[in-house]
Amino acid sequence: MSKPTTNAGPFFPRDRNWHPQALSPNYKTSVLRSPQKALLSFGNTISETTGPVFGHNMLGELDHDLVLNYAKPGESALGERIIVHGHVMDEEAKPVPNALVEVWQANAGGRYRHKKDGYLAPLDPNFGGCGRVTTDENGYYAFRTIRPGPYPWPNGVNDWRPSHIHFSLFGSGFAQRLITQMYFEGDPHIPMCPIVRTINDPAAIEMLVAKLDMNHTVPMDARAYRFDIVLRGRRSTMFENRMEGN
């Protein structure tokens, strides 16, 4: 594998046609929550190339184990036990070490532990739906959870979200900040979902679909899904603009 990134230069420009468009009328909430004027583009300054970094020692013992981190002693969350793991890389395929990965999700019945979620499916008293982990020196992360259920949401008359896990990522600079969602290979709801379809390119959607990974499955315990994540790459600072004479 290539060496972790040590560049501190500006990030590669974001491909805004690859990302979802802000205004995606079939995802109705985006209509009033999308800027109408053009974004102002400018090269990164030090305010964008720097960012907070979180140490491994910040993490609690069970932060990466959603099966146990909200469960009563001796109990565990209900549902299909899974391990989700993968590499966090940049656009040059260099691993991103020490990246904070935060995840949240619904329970096995498709219900969130949130005061604003009133879906019929019951809460699981042993499941909080929240976890976090930092990548190791090779950019690798892993956490254990249960597979979240699909659930209906008020958009169209009969729209259902595919099973998904929300991911929040910090790289090494604030301009790398990313929130996305992970879907599960083979879920028939993926191509129907208005939120998934805010992304135009099928190859981009494919990046968000985790693959069943039998090699990392723990026999008689939990299946594994592989989900790699790519953050923006960055240039070296060697040739960056400086005042002449400096």
């Binding site: 501190a8 500006p10 420009p13 491909d15 690859w18 990302h19 979802p20 468009q21 802000a22 995802y27 985006s30 209509v31 929550r33 999308s34 800027p35 109408q36 004027k37 974004l39 102002l40 400018f42 090269g43 990164n44 300054t45 030090i46 305010s47 964008e48 720097t50 907070p52 970094v53 932060d63 909200y70 040059e92 949240w104 969130y112 532990r113 949130h114 005061k115 604003k116 979620d117 909080g128 739906g129 929240c130 976090r132 929300h166 929040s168 600079g173 604030f174 900040r177 990313l178 929130i179 996305t180 939120i195 992304i199 959607i205 990046m207 790519v230 953050l231 923006r232 400086r242 005042m243």
Partner: protein, 203 residues
């Protein structure tokens, strides 16, 4: 022929209405998983510089405040240094994190950060940037996080010379990035759409 091989960035998806579960679980009463919500405290008793409070709301295209938004800010310390491994110009104040995360109030839509006023930091060509704070806003219906900056109204001269503010072609839009001051409290309202649409950045 040389072939360029790059990966594509993972595409963004909305944070959804339940972003608190993962990012600020204690705020919604899901206690016992994390000791405290990350980014809730930026300062402590020893932080150097002028203490300030930043308040505001995020409005949709009808002028209704968002009740489910989450904001993050990133800024230099009072001397203009970032608390980051990518900061190569010196050591930032160890008692100031530079990074804050706050959900808006679920009923009123108001956010509030307790921080310090940042110092000036250089633009890549060496010119000074006026003191500013980077904002990143996510919510249900926002497909990719919105980037903007807050500037300080008392820094008139520095703002006039700021290389980023100078890039804004339609000068009537510059005030959307400048907070309103009342003592040590600054109000920075963000308008996603409409007549006063905030200038958002592609950085």
């Amino acid at each position: 022929m040389t072939k360029l091989e790059y990966l594509k960035e993972s595409p963004s998806q909305t944070a959804g209405p339940y972003v608190h579960i993962g990012c600020t679980p204690n705020f919604i009463g899901n206690a016992g998983i994390f000791k405290e919500d990350l980014g809730a405290r930026m300062v402590n008793e020893q932080s150097k510089g002028q203490r300030i409070t930043i308040k505001g709301r995020v409005f949709d295209g009808t002028g209704t405040p968002l009740k489910d938004a989450l904001l993050e800010i990133w800024q230099a310390d009072s001397e203009g240094l970032f608390n980051s491994p990518s900061e190569t110009r010196g050591d930032a104040d160890p008692n100031f994190t530079g990074w804050g995360r706050q959900p808006v109030n679920l009923e009123t839509g108001e956010f509030c950060f307790e921080t310090v006023k940042p110092g000036s930091v250089p633009f890549p060509d060496g010119r000074a940037q006026a003191p500013h704070i980077n904002f990143w806003i996510v919510a249900r219906g926002i497909n990719i996080g919105l980037n903007t900056r807050m500037y300080f109204p008392e820094e008139e001269e520095a703002n006039a010379a700021d290389p980023v503010l100078s890039r804004i072609e339609h000068r009537v839009r510059v005030p959307t990035l400048i907070a309103k001051q009342s003592g040590d409290t600054y109000t920075f309202d963000i308008y996603i759409q409409g007549e006063n649409e905030t200038v958002f950045f592609d950085i």
